[in-house]
């Protein structure tokens, strides 16, 4: 074929030099290198184990890594890794997968940035100079400031919503999301602290939140098992506190519910999370609770496809959990509709 071909010769990896060794010797080498790396990287590995889901794997990992990390700290070996991180301008615990993207209308584009956990840039050089009430008459020079936050499902919505809001030309949308996070494990990712950090930088008129699918797990400290009344009470308390924080600067909070899940067990847990979040939203002023089912699951159960404009649209990804880009776009339209009708923001388009 003149097309996708390669030589008919078998092209194998050939040893080009005398670098052979017996397996026992290699085993010693690999085991020693891994053990030394484990020692050098022990503090980070210990942190990663601490923030992993509660269970036997976490317990075993912490039991094994605890003494190693302690020795690494006593002997100052952990400084090597700390120095590595400091040279890179990062925290030792890292923040991979952290999305922080600011998008401004063209006339207000003084600073946009996508980063992986770096210091967040202010939207405007001097936020106090922004005229009030952009909600009533948003323009490119005086945009509505919207903060979008969430976990991986929140990012599924946030990516589309940020794009749709940006296309209006009168919204400055900031997306702050991190996969595998929620309100149950602030030891892994502290959303209240993150939000408290975002609010003065973004000064949002509207905050949109979608998260919770990772939350059905035990609270580690104090230990409260998921599925108990105590867990529900504690989760309600955290949701209320988070909602109060989000609205503390005068912003309106739009809280988007999680869609049904394909896995029955996860679906039951998500239903519980939704019920608690809805209860919390009812107790905090300036919170609009948005049920995503009319868009993503009109039948009230998991649906990979929905009818939109007379055509089937795939709204969920094959994992049965996440929202597809098309689903994210449709949900964005629902949220923007809420912004127009309930908040009275005259968004173009």
């Amino acid at each position: 074929m003149s097309a996708p071909v390669t030589s008919r010769r078998s092209r194998e990896v050939q040893p080009a030099r005398a670098t052979m060794r017996g397996w026992k010797s290699i085993l010693k080498l690999m085991a020693a290198a891994l053990a030394l790396w484990l020692f050098l990287d022990a503090t980070t590995l210990q942190h990663n184990a601490q923030v992993s889901p509660v269970g036997i794997r976490r317990t075993v990992a912490l039991d094994l890594l605890g003494p190693i990390a302690a020795v690494a700290r006593v002997t100052q070996v952990s400084r090597l890794e700390t120095g590595f991180n400091q040279a890179l301008g990062r925290t030792a615990t890292g923040s991979g997968g952290h999305t922080f993207v600011v998008v401004l209308p063209p006339a207000a584009s003084t600073n946009t940035q996508a980063s992986t956990g770096k210091a967040h840039p202010p939207i405007h050089p001097d936020i106090t100079t922004i005229p009030p009430n952009p909600m009533q008459n948003p323009t490119a020079a005086n945009p509505v400031r919207v903060l979008l936050i969430g976990d991986s499902l929140g990012l599924d919505l946030g990516d589309s919503l940020q794009n749709s809001l940006a296309s209006t030309g009168v919204v400055a949308a900031t997306l702050d999301g991190k996969e595998s996070t929620g309100l149950t494990r602030p030891d892994y990712f502290n959303w209240p602290a993150e939000l408290a950090s975002d609010l003065p930088k973004v000064s949002p008129e509207v905050v949109v939140v979608m998260m919770g699918a990772n939350d059905p797990q035990a609270f580690p400290s104090p230990s409260i098992q998921y599925g108990t009344a105590a867990w529900n009470a504690e989760y309600l308390r955290r949701c209320i506190a988070f909602m109060k924080l989000a609205t503390s600067t005068g912003a309106t909070l739009i809280w988007v519910s999680l869609p049904p899940m394909q896995d029955p067990t996860l679906n039951a847990k998500v239903a519980n999370i939704n019920a608690i979040q809805k209860e919390a939203a009812a107790q905090v002023p300036n919170v609009i609770y948005v049920n995503s089912n009319p868009t993503l699951a009109p039948a009230g159960t998991f649906q990979p496809y929905i009818l939109s404009g007379g055509q089937n649209v795939n709204v969920r990804t094959p994992d049965g959990t996440h929202i597809s880009p098309q689903g994210g776009a449709l949900l964005s339209q629902q949220v923007m509709g809420i912004m127009r009708t309930k908040l009275g923001i005259p968004l173009p388009g």
Binding site: P4, T6, G22, L27, A32, A33, N111, A114, A166, P318
Partner: protein
Amino acid sequence: MLFPTIDFAIFFLVVFSLSWILRPYATPWKLFMLASSYFFYAWWNPRFVLLLVAETAIAHFGAQAIASAKTDRGRRNAMVVAVVVLIGILAYFKYVGFMAVNVDNIARSVGLGNVIPLIQPTLPIAISFFTFMAISYVVDNYRRQLEPARPIDVAVYLAFFPHLIAGPIVRGGELLPQIRRRNDGQHIDYARATELIVRGLFKKVVISSFISTAIVDPVFASPTSHSALDALFGIWGYAVQIYCDFSGYTDIAIGLALLLGIKFPVNFDRPYAAIDLQDFWRRWHITLSRWLRDYLYIPLGGNRGSQAEVMRNIMITMILGGLWHGADWTFLAWGFLHGAGQVVGHVRRTRRQAAGLPPVATGHLRRVNQVFWTFQFVCLAWIFFRATSFSNAFAVIGRLFSGWGAPTNLVTPMVVLAVVAVIAIQQVPVNFGERVAAWWSAQRMAIQVGLLSLVLLGITTLGPTGVAPFIYYRF
């Protein structure tokens, strides 16, 4: 189980030790390797081990039926049945949802209403890879290039964990003899294996992860929010990301197999140094390329026949090659672009040969020019491969024209360095890693241990917390 995890490191240390202890004993070694490979696969979803077992059974009994058939027609029928069943399984899991929704949409548009149930089966990880290997095993038996192997051999061939998830797509003729051979374990090319594993980890954990989060994901998530330069580097960045991701996986897979005494074929050979698309497909995912050639392109007629027939064969092969990657119109478009590009290349080569010229222009400047434009065409096609929809792809392309003057914020010095370095290093036909590995292997063991652990520390520190799955896992 992902390669760059502690879970896998522990798993591999145990498997490596027991594998070499059991290697002198053929059947126990095969049973152990099969159990290890199924455990590795079950880590993701135990249910689908049954699917792997089912495909193994189909390949085995298909080969047996071919061998026992009395006539050529019987052999052919047995081969066709086995291949159709294997393709049917792949089609159900991978394409039924896509086909159903498109058929239903057409029916709705002509007023027929809902005519077909819409389902979206969970896609078993790596099904495209092990199904293609199973098909090649059956067809090679039919072509008398292989003799039917024992069931345990077929099972290990299909499930051997280093290649199981994302290739290389190894042929029966390459792997089965190595499975049967009893290696002594005293002559393992550990320096080469270590260099491949470290290189693969660096590509995946450091470069691919960085490029992905720093520029590719933001550009493709919200193309209209970024400048033309951001979009351009986002597209080039995706070329770098997918190369580092996929070739990184392959490097690790080849290195791990080498430590277990098994040699895999090369799967990548500096693809962005290709001088045309034909050359690109000799360098990119080589084992898929030769699979498409031997089991699709040549049976279609290959280079035989009229120029129109050759063009048709190229287009069919590349479009189906695109669909192999995923059930979406964007993958089909990716295959179509590569097919169309190769058709143009084929016509050009034919005309040059008819005029008494070499098929490809020679000369250093001409070569640089061809490498540059081939890379740009490959990047254009990658846009459709990465985009979530046609509108997303065209938004990215449109930004290349409309985004000049917008503020550029994603193109940082580190992004430029990573993109340029990965592309530039492919233009140099020297493997620096091999030289470093040769030097490293000449050191005393204590120094080797220290250096290796420091390199691992560097990779884990430079990489993000938690590693995203390899892009090719979902194929």
